[in-house]
Each structure stands twice: as structure tokens, then as C-alpha cells.
Amino acid sequence: MVGAYPSGAGCSWPLRSLYKCPNLKIEEYSVLTNAGRARAMRAPGNVQGTFAFEQMIDTIAEKIGMDPIEFRKINYTDVDPDWGGKYTSKKLIEAYDQGAKAIGWEKRNKPGSGEGTVKRGIGMASQIWWGGGSPPGYATLKLNSDGSLNISSGTQDIGTGTYTILAQVASEILEIPMDKIQVTLGDTETGPYGTASGGSMTAPTMTPAVYDAAVQMMDKLKSGAAAILEVSEDELNYSNGIFTVKNDPQKTIDISKIVNELNARTLVTTGARNANPDGYAINTFGAQFADVEVDTETGKIKVNKIVAAHDIGRAINPMTLNNQIHGGVIQGLGFALFEERIMDSYTGKTVNANFHDYKVPTIKDTPEIVPIIVSETDTLISPVGAKGVGEPAIIPTAAAISNAVYNAIGVRIKSAPMTPDKVLNAINNL
């Protein structure tokens, strides 16, 4: 019995699915904490599970005298170990290799071997998450008589760039400039159903819906242009909003004129997210690498650099994508070093429910972050080929930092956040 508000996230999914292991037994149970109801937070259960699991993997590798990356590579799997489905795409090896190069893995020393009171270490951790998206998800496109386009959907942009990437996909198909596209989100009364902001679903679910609507719009425009110009559709070229008759380049019509000539005022299409392919597993993968310093006299950990190498299918917009990786890493840094609910055990009251005592990292705590995208379009998922990045970006950060801390001081910190008191206690065996 775990009370009225159990959370079903679990922490064991990375243990079940990250590596090939034919004989695996997982036991997982909930406990009653009397600590308020559970809430999901960015990659629920996976940040925590990965923090523990990837430290175990490093420990095993060390015990058998093997490089941690080499150990992960020999336990690599092409299929989902849980049910045997082949992955639509998996670029984890590329993430290991490119990440290792960017962090300077070859400079990594033996655990705790550094001189002086401030010891430096390098560590890494891998990540698996879903994030392939799925139906249902719809988007409606309205092409207006001035050639401008409205996109509407019930999904939302929580600061991750949904407005931008939906406009980009429509712009790419219809060749309408971004500044003539307006996106309306977050209103399920006027827009069709869109996915909720969870599960790293928004980009991989909603961009194919816009893609589908844009392709339908292109069909309508082409058929309209053919009728008005009195040629067959095959005889038309399309570029930057203008149809041209192949053999008679003087005969042209732009999309705004098509809407007017058809007396349609507005052309409307609604697109839907395609079904996912049968028999395949769709997952995101990544590996993050941390370069840290541990002050053995104060117990304070300083993270110098995080390299975040991720397989997220197609990068629709590298800038908003990198921003999400930065955000995930900084939030992962918070989990690793600062953030903790501290509860008074006699009263059950949280004593640090404010932004001073609950310490979110500031810009001064934030290291250099180097995002690397190792993947390209995953055409098995959708014509857009994107997977989600919202949750993958936070999952391995704390585990990578903890493995780097071990590499620095040769002592394992098994509880997050790794605050100075815990580090000092671990070093001094208190």
C-alpha cells in the first residue's frame, strides 16, 4: 500500500532497456513516504534510475579492469531487450565516440590519482528514453488570400520552440517565408487536438501533422493552379509561392492569386500524425560526458564542462534544439549538485520550499555545455524524421557527473544532490 497518490513512473526502465542482458531480473516496489503526493518531473524515474544504474555500470567496468565506454559498447544492443523490436534508428555508438573525443577521454586518469587538494575527473553516462511521438495529433492550416498562412493546433509551446518548428515544417513544404506564417497554439477550443507537453512528444507528434496538412495544401494549390492555367498538374513547376508552366515559363500564378481566382478566400487543410511503423521500437539515445573538479577540503564539486551527444533523429531547428539541451543539462546539474526537498521528519513539513533554500543552479554554477547531434532524419518514424529531446537532455547529466566525481576522488557518492557535506562525509568516512 502506498497511499492515495502513488506515482507509476518507476526507476527501472533504463536498467531493463539500455544494454543487452539476456538474464535480467528487476524487482521494483513503491514505499509510503507520508511526504505529499507524487508529481512527474522531466523524465520521471529515469534521471534517478540512470544516476544509480550508470554508476553501477562504471563500477562493474572498473572491477573487471575495462574502460567504461568499451564495456558499454560490448553490451550494446540493436533491439529492444524487453520485447525484441528493432530500433528505427540508434546512434549510441556515435554518441560515445563523438562525446569521448569532445571531452578528451584519453586524458582520463585512474580514479583518485590526482595530486593536490583539488582533484579533477572525467566521467560519462548513457541515456535511453522514448520520445518517438505517436498519433493522435492534428494541425489545421489556413492559407489566406494575401498568401499568408495560419497554423493552429491544441498543442503548446512551453518555451521549447514549438511555434518555430511547426512554422518551419510548413515553410519548407509550401515555400512560404517564415514571416508570413502565424502559429496559434494552446487553445483546444479553436485548434484541433494536439499532444500534451510530456514524454518528449511534441516535436515528433506535431511536426508530421503539420507536414501532412502542408502536403494536402500543396495538392489543393497544384490542382487549382492547373485548372486556372489550363494545364495538367504534371506540367507545373513550383518555387517560392509561384507555379510556372514547364514549357511556357511566361505562364505563372502565385498562391495568393490561386486563392482569389478560386473564390475560396481561404484554403483549409487539417493534417494528422501518421501511425508508427509496426514491429519497431522507437527510442532516443545519448551519452553525456562531464569534466569536474572536487575540492577535497571543502567537498565542493565544480563542473567545468558537459558534452551532450544525442540521437534525436532530425534536428529541425539546431538553435532551439541546443537550447533544450542546455536547459536539460542545467536542470540535471541541479539534480546532481543542489536540488533537494528537505523535509522535517517530525512534522512532515518541507523546510526549504522557497527559491533560496531550494537551490536551483545559477549561471555562475553552469559549466560550458557542448551539444552534439549525432543523428539524422529517421524516416521510419515519420516524413519529418524527428524524435523528441525534452527529456533525453536531462537524463544522463547527474550520472555523468557522479562518475566523473568518482574518477576524481576515488570515492562513490551514492546519493543526490552531491552537496559538500555528503562529499566531505564520504571522503572522511564520517
Binding site: 522535517d344 517530525y346 526549504n352 557535506d421 564520517l430
Partner: protein, 323 residues
């Protein structure tokens, strides 16, 4: 928040009269960075806020070579951190000021306010009827006490939160106080009090009194000062432990030293016996000597690490003098 009166008097006598009026609870207000937080969290609910900002000549820094430096109570923390005379002659104070909170808070907070700020204990600041708020027990004693004191505690176990107070204690500053029409000067080492004397106050100020300036005597030739602070987060965080030192170190010999400790006790901790451990000792003996300090600590369930931390930081700050 309940209604309150807000007054900006133009004279110290008016401050005295207003702040000790019977049946009106008053609170002094300098920069306000702490007072507003206390009011919003319902720790205090004054009837009257008395803003000191219209008082003349309280925002000046005056350095007289050979005598010392006078710093007005309303001088901003950021101005102290960046003042060249303070940086050159009273380095510990400039460093401590630079460690306070965040740039935004340093631009508003004042020196007088900083040393009079209330403790950050999360039971005091939270919904707990603790001793410091007139209740019956200290919840930290058997509760979440990783940031609490290791000496000077009982019946309350706060640590004093001010960075500048620790530096001023090592620098042997004195505090000038206007008290009902007269002035008095109190050594800062006697300004703060322990919970055993009054668990609801952190210093000796009474209603009708206000700090006007802080004076630091010029250091003797050969002495330098420094401040070192460990905080979990790199900015906008109070000390886990901090140390200020005024020391005369020549080569590998510590000729003289005065140490003050923050994050250690309910007041900036100053103990002549700790100084004596290091006076006329060698830098090379620090490793052994730091083990002689704070052996009488009362460690709580979650703050044992602080003893090691204080010793390590003592070693570090004294080592830095010889570097």
C-alpha cells in the same frame, strides 16, 4: 500581510521616538532586503516601518590613514566590495561584502542592515513556532540541522548569517549606536549575543537605538586580512562555513592572528584561545594545529562535517597568507 505605517524620519532623535512608542511595534528599515522577506513570510508584522534612508551623512566612507576607516550604516554592500581603501587596507571586509548574496541584493543591502539581519534557519523562517519566535522548542536540534551551529548553541541552534559581521569581528571593528539622544560605541565582539542570553535576539540593540556607523581601526604594520567562504551554490547563497583572519605572517611563521568564524555559532565566533593555537606557530604545523580547535563542539546529527570543514578552511586561509 497586515497594514503598516511607513515613515522616513529626517533625524536620529525622531527615529528613537518613533521606534519606542508604546503599543506600536516598529521595525527599522535600511536597504530592506531582509525586512521585506521577514514581513512577507509573516516572521514579523510591524505596525510601523521606519526607513532610515533620509538620515543625513550615513552613507559615507571616510578613511584616515593611521587611524582607520569609518563606514556609515547606510553604505551599500556593493560600494564596500568595490571601495579601494577597504580593498587595500581592510581586505577581509571587501571580500566578505563581495560574497554577500547576489549583485542585485548587494546593490540595495546596507552594512548596518547586513549585520542586523535575522538568521536564515529554515525553522525560524518557516511555519514553525520555534524558540526564536517565542515558541517552546528548537526544531533544528533533532531535525534538519546540517547548516546549524556547532558551538554556542542552546536553547536555539542558529548560525549568524552575516558575512560582513564575521570580517568586522576579525578586524576588531566597533559599532557606533545612537541611543535616545546620546551616542555610544560598542566593540563588535560584544555586540552579538548568544541564545542562552536571549534566544529571540541576535544583538544588544534595544528599541530606540540605531547603528550610525562602523569604525575599523587601522591594522598594525605587517598585518593583513582575508575572508574565505564556502557556499553550496556559487552565488546567492549564505555561508556553510566562513572564516575571516587578520594575520601577521612572515615567511613560514605566523607571528600573530585573529580569527572569526561564520556558519559556526549563533554569532560571529571569536575565541582568543583559538588564536593562541596559531600565534607563533609554523605554517608547516597547521595540519596538526587545526586539530586543536573546536574540540569542545556540540555536533548535531547532520552537521558533523562542519568540524572538518572549519579546520580545512582555517588551514587554507592561513596558508594563503604565506603564499
Amino acid at each position: 500581510m497586515k497594514n503598516f505605517e511607513y515613515i522616513q524620519p529626517g533625524s536620529l532623535n525622531a527615529v528613537s521616538t518613533l521606534s519606542k512608542e508604546k503599543f506600536v511595534s516598529s521595525h527599522l528599515f535600511a536597504g530592506g532586503t531582509d525586512v521585506l522577506g521577514l514581513m512577507k513570510d509573516n516572521i514579523i508584522s510591524p505596525d510601523r516601518l521606519i526607513n532610515l534612508k533620509n538620515l543625513p551623512n550615513m552613507d559615507k566612507i571616510v578613511y584616515k590613514k593611521g587611524e582607520g576607516i569609518s563606514i556609515g550604516t547606510l553604505v551599500k554592500i556593493s560600494d564596500i566590495a568595490e571601495n579601494e581603501d577597504i580593498m587595500n587596507h581592510f581586505t577581509a571586509l571587501a571580500q566578505a561584502a563581495g560574497e554577500v548574496a547576489s549583485p542585485q541584493l548587494r546593490n540595495v543591502g546596507t552594512l548596518g542592515g547586513n549585520i542586523c539581519q535575522r538568521p536564515r534557519c529554515w525553522y525560524f523562517r518557516g511555519e514553525f513556532d520555534c524558540i526564536r519566535k517565542g515558541g517552546g522548542i528548537c526544531y533544528a536540534y533533532e531535525g534538519e540541522n546540517k547548516f546549524h551551529c556547532i558551538v554556542g548553541g542552546g536553547p536555539c541552534y542558529i548560525v549568524h548569517p552575516s558575512d560582513t559581521a564575521v570580517a568586522l569581528t576579525a578586524l576588531n571593528a566597533s559599532i557606533k549606536i545612537h541611543s535616545n539622544g546620546t551616542m555610544k560605541e560598542i566593540p563588535i565582539r560584544e555586540f552579538f549575543i548568544l541564545p542562552e542570553d536571549d534566544p529571540m535576539k541576535e544583538n544588544i540593540l534595544e528599541p530606540g537605538e540605531a547603528i550610525t556607523e562602523i569604525f575599523i581601526p587601522e591594522l598594525e604594520t605587517g598585518k593583513k586580512s582575508a575572508y574565505i567562504k564556502l557556499k553550496e551554490r556559487d552565488v546567492w547563497d549564505f555561508m556553510t562555513v566562513s572564516i575571516a583572519a587578520v594575520a601577521d605572517v612572515s615567511g613560514s611563521l605566523i607571528n600573530n592572528v585573529e580569527l572569526a568564524f561564520g556558519g559556526t555559532a549563533p554569532k560571529p565566533w571569536y575565541d582568543e584561545n583559538i588564536n593562541k593555537v596559531f600565534i607563533n606557530s609554523k605554517i608547516s604545523d597547521l595540519e596538526t594545529n587545526v586539530k586543536k580547535i573546536f574540540n569542545d563542539s556540540e555536533l548535531l546529527s547532520k552537521n558533523k562535517y562542519k568540524l572538518q570543514l572549519i579546520r580545512n578552511l582555517t588551514k587554507r586561509i592561513l596558508n594563503n597568507f604565506s603564499a
